[in-house]
Amino acid sequence: MKRLSLPPLNALLGGLLLGILVAAALVGLVWTPFDPLRINILGRLQAPDTLHWLGTDEFGRDVLSRLMDAAFTTLSISLLTVLAAVFAGVWLGVLSGYLGGLVDRLVMMITNTLLAFPGILLALGLLSVLGNSRYGIVLALALAYTPSVVRIVRGTVRSLRESDYVEAARVMGHSEPFILARHILPNCLAPLIVLATSMLGWAIISESALSFLGLGVPPPRPTWGNMLAASRENLADAAWLAVFPGLCISFALLGVNLLGDALRDFLDPRMKP
């Protein structure tokens, strides 16, 4: 039945980029070439060479080790953010779209209010209250992203609720929860996955931006964002300090988006001939 064929180019490239970063993050958990936090004043601002592959920063810390350590921080925070936003958003969206009425109005009122603030501003405000811990960031970003999930899910549910095959399932005698789980949620999946992958991209950017502004995971823990921020002082004579974290952010984004496209095509049976 199934044909063996090469996966599409976007899946291949996206998987490769993201795979390398995830592997680096996981390896970084147990082993890094150097201790990412160890300061070596004598070996500061060394250009990339055979010992320090990606050079050292203004305190003589190994950039490669710091990037690996940061990869885990950034990727885990972004992933947790998206999972939390999707979880909360799907629940609220389904309730609001399926039940309608007062629940719908209440949820949409809150959603619209949250959507009126730029996401990063909302996160900034929350972080100043919550304090900048790892979970504080997840909570703040998830809250900023949940409204878009609610919107998408609610809209899809509302149109599916009236569809002929949902009506058919009702006539068959299936219960409402069964119809929700079997007909409505799976058909929400395609738009949701597209949204979730682009959200993962935004989350990586936002986390880096927060770190860049000094509201991310507190130093000395490295993140791609705070490494980029620190590189500004020595940009003229140590460009590698800005280039490598920047590349990491770009590659992560590119990988996530390519993989998201491929995933959506794969999950939609209508895309198969």
Binding site: M1, S163, D164, Y165, E167, A168, A169, R170, V171, M172, G173, H174, H183, P186, N187, P269, R270, K272
Partner: protein, 554 residues
């Protein structure tokens, strides 16, 4: 008006269209004389639409016409020369599309849309354009009213929109009009009216017309010649009367066989109670809620009573908006009854306890109108047919699978279809899957809501035959909702005619169809084209004769 006229208005030769190296129109040649009406008939996928679209250079992207030429009004055109064809559109070649709901731009007032063509092709003053537009609106059967021009398309019914579409094409006075299934999306009665209007108009103006349809009986009334297309090839053509009388090609014969014909049906066995009885049912829809004003609800169904016995098919006939679908929805429990009583096996539903009501729900299934939207696109055929069986606690996995295999076989699909997704099936196959889903649990009552109106004539026939056969096997009672009396002729025992929420006529099929009493039933019947079989084979056109005082619609 025949092929050997010295110079026909349009002569197409060698028209060939390919999609991905597959021939969809194969070396098609035909001619249309000045003022002549011809018909191109074939199933969906026969290439009739693509062939005529290519004359206007309107092929969808990805479809290319490489070979072919046409001679139009004495000039030669290559059919791959899109720029040249574009100059013909509008004032020389007009096209009326199938779907009046989507062929008018919903964001523009119809006045703007009617002005558009005249502005492009003529140098008339605005006042003169408006004068012509208003005259044309009157001609197509709408009022000569300036206020109409300020309306948006959604403010008109389907039939009126198609009239507006016809007006916009006729305003250009094209020499040739291509009408692609112009009335397929409309109700039977409206269909007839729109068709009459269109052809009266073209005859008067002397335009030639190409009618495209899958309904041979319908076009036979209007076209002087018929071309039959099958899988991209022109298989037969000829004068309508001659072609009907002696069809030569097997495909033409198949098309003619698919025409609705009255079949004698075995009467249902007498039973003590009808399976379903509806007594004085009233259904209301809540109106819009307003501040400081009482809500006015709309009565969609008013005091409807009906009974369906085991093994019997009762047809509920009416125009769109007559409330027939609302009745169906109430019976399957999607819409509550406002008042009245629903009885199942002689017992009132209101008096039933929970579990018995549940049993009735499970015993009552529905076949929906549009097989393209009634199947979950993410599920395989196996899962779709299995779905109703999941509610039967008496069946385990293996028994369910066995039943799925059995049922898919009974609806004429093989087990090889089980792993397919709906989008991999044709319309007829999808409707078979929907029927399999409906009968899987061996229900005692089935509501079929226009089960064939989205299908071609030949497929329609197959589906109806299948329903009759399944009813013989399972003995379910069936309520058939339709606006098409052709369907009624083939499978119904009794007929109920509905108009504006009320039942206006009821009786045995033969009685209602041969001696209708109510004016609306007469109009419905008159709109049904009829071909009569001749004793020596073939068909002749026949005007329907009705018993009683004449046949004139009132």
């Amino acid at each position: 008006m025949s092929l050997d006229d010295a110079s026909p208005l349009l002569a197409v030769s060698g028209l060939t269209i390919e999609i991905n190296d597959k021939l969809v129109v194969d070396d098609l040649s035909f001619a249309v004389a000045e003022g002549e009406t011809i018909a191109i008939v074939g199933e969906s996928g026969s290439g009739k639409t693509l062939a005529t679209r290519s004359l206007l250079g309107l092929l969808p992207s990805g479809v290319n016409c490489r070979v072919g030429s046409m001679r139009f009004k004495g000039n030669d055109y290559r059919l791959d020369d899109l720029e040249a064809l574009k100059t013909l559109r509008g004032h020389s070649l007009g096209m009326i599309f199938q779907e009046p709901m989507t062929s008018l731009n919903p964001a523009l007032r119809i006045g703007q849309q009617l002005h558009e063509g005249l502005k492009l092709h003529t140098r008339l003053e605005r006042a003169e354009r408006e004068r012509r537009i208003l005259a044309m609106l009157e001609r197509v059967g709408l009022a000569r009213d300036r206020a109409l021009l300020e309306c948006y398309p959604h403010e008109f019914s389907g039939g009126m929109r198609q009239r507006i579409m016809i007006a916009s094409v006729m305003l250009m006075a094209p020499a040739l009009i291509v009408a692609d299934e112009p009335t397929t999306a409309l109700d039977a009665v409206v269909q007839r009216e729109v068709m009459e209007t269109m052809l009266a108009l073209t005859r008067e103006a002397g335009n030639a017309t190409i009618l495209i349809s899958h309904d041979l009986a319908m076009v036979a009334h209007y076209a002087s010649r018929v071309l039959v297309m099958c899988q991209g090839k022109l298989v037969e053509q000829g004068e309508t009367v001659a072609l009907l009388a002696a069809p030569r090609h097997p495909y033409t014969r198949k098309l003619l066989d698919a025409l609705p014909r009255r079949v004698a049906l075995a009467p249902p066995a007498p039973a003590e109670h009808p399976v379903l009885a509806l007594q004085r049912a009233v259904i209301e829809y809540a109106g819009r809620r307003r501040w400081f004003r009482p809500t006015v609800s709309k009565r969609a169904v008013d005091c409807v009573s009906l009974e369906v016995a085991r093994g019997e098919t009762v047809a509920l006939v009416g125009a769109s908006g007559s409330g027939k679908t609302t009745v169906a929805k109430a019976i399957v429990g999607l819409v509550p009854l406002h008042s009245g009583e629903m009885c199942f096996d002689g017992r009132s539903l209101a008096g039933m306890d929970r579990s018995r009501r549940r049993t009735w729900r499970l015993d009552c299934q529905m076949i929906q109108q549009d097989p393209f939207s009634s199947l979950d696109p993410r599920m395989r055929v196996r899962q779709i047919v299995d779905e109703p069986l999941r509610l039967d606690a008496a069946l385990d996995r293996g028994q369910r699978l066995a039943r799925v295999n059995e049922v898919i076989d009974e609806v004429g699909l093989g087990v090889e279809f089980l792993e397919r997704f709906p989008h991999q099936l044709s319309g007829g196959q999808r409707q078979r899957v929907a029927i399999a889903r409906a009968i899987a649990r061996k229900p005692r009552f089935i509501v079929a809501d226009e089960p064939t109106s989205a299908l071609d004539m030949t497929v329609q026939k197959q589906i109806l035959t299948l329903l009759v056969e399944l009813q013989r096997r399972y003995g379910f009672a069936c309520l058939l909702i339709t606006h098409d009396l052709g369907v009624v002729e083939q499978i119904a025992h009794r007929v109920l005619v509905m108009e504006q929420g009320r039942i206006v006529e009821s009786g045995e099929r033969d009685q209602v169809l041969d001696a209708p009493r109510h004016a609306y039933t007469r109009r419905l019947l008159m709109s049904l084209p009829q071909l009569a079989a001749r004793a020596e084979g073939g068909f002749v056109l026949r005007e329907r004769t009705l018993a009683g005082e004449g046949g004139a619609p009132t």
